[in-house]
Point group: C2
Chain length 153, copies 2
């Protein structure tokens, strides 16, 4: 019984989860955003088993989220760096962080601030084209013909 694939589910969210939806991937990405580049530093920073880390890093590389760069003089010192695609997950990571802080309190040792001002960030929100904040009740899911689907709260 191989694990269910999500990329043929006709859903972009499922497709995203297929790439970064397991327990560790987003934490590896968050660690990379924090500055970590070396295998051992990921291992120590996350407390992840080496074989799992191997698997996650190579999967992230395969999916174009990270790259493996050879930085050794003679061959076997590597760095794992975020690609543009990986860095673009910043929104997701921050949204998850803020959600957790709103509902579970701040469990984090560290804080995220604007580099130039030192001030905390604004809350990540969903907006319409005019910049108005939208909740799930303010949107419609429409099919390819523009027909709206039922929606709930």
């Amino acid at each position: 019984m191989t694990r269910k694939r999500f990329d043929d589910l006709g859903c972009s969210v499922a497709c995203a989860l297929n790439e970064v939806g397991d327990w560790w991937s987003l934490l590896v990405i968050k660690q990379a955003m924090l500055g970590t580049r070396r295998f051992v530093d990921f291992q120590n920073g996350l407390g992840i088993a080496k074989n799992i880390l191997c698997d996650r890093l190579s999967r992230l590389v395969d999916n174009g989220v990270m790259t493996r760069v050879n930085v050794g003089e003679h061959g076997t010192r590597y760095e794992y760096r975020l690609t543009d695609k990986g860095r673009d997950l910043f929104t997701v990571v921050v949204a998850l962080r803020q959600w957790s802080e709103r509902w579970n309190g701040n469990k984090d040792d560290m804080q995220l601030v604007d580099r130039s001002s030192g001030e905390p960030l604004a809350q990540v929100v969903v907006q319409n084209a005019d910049g108005e904040v939208l909740t799930v009740r303010d949107v419609l899911f429409v099919d390819e013909n523009g027909q709206p689907l039922e929606q709930a709260g």
Copy 2:
């Protein structure tokens, strides 16, 4: 060897992933945002095994993301509805959707539009207090003493 717990990792992202970080939870939540409330409808809509759906729903209920409401006359007709905490994951779901669409193309049968205007939504972004858009390079991770940590891209 029980799966690693993330809620004692000193990280809000890890704490969030501990609640909704497995393969199915966010899809169940997205399905609920789409209007699904009944057990069978989740099952048909997602193609998930019943025992896994049972487990995920009850875990989401335990974590306060959904509630189980008895809607039957005599006892065993249930609806699973999002709580405020669950609805608040809208930002995360939309951010994931949009990321996937930006990098993998739109794999989705349906589209998300502003209910009042019918227009597509704006891209979810991270902003500072002044409303300026920030990337991961524009932020600093600081510890509890305000000391900045190294950061990369």
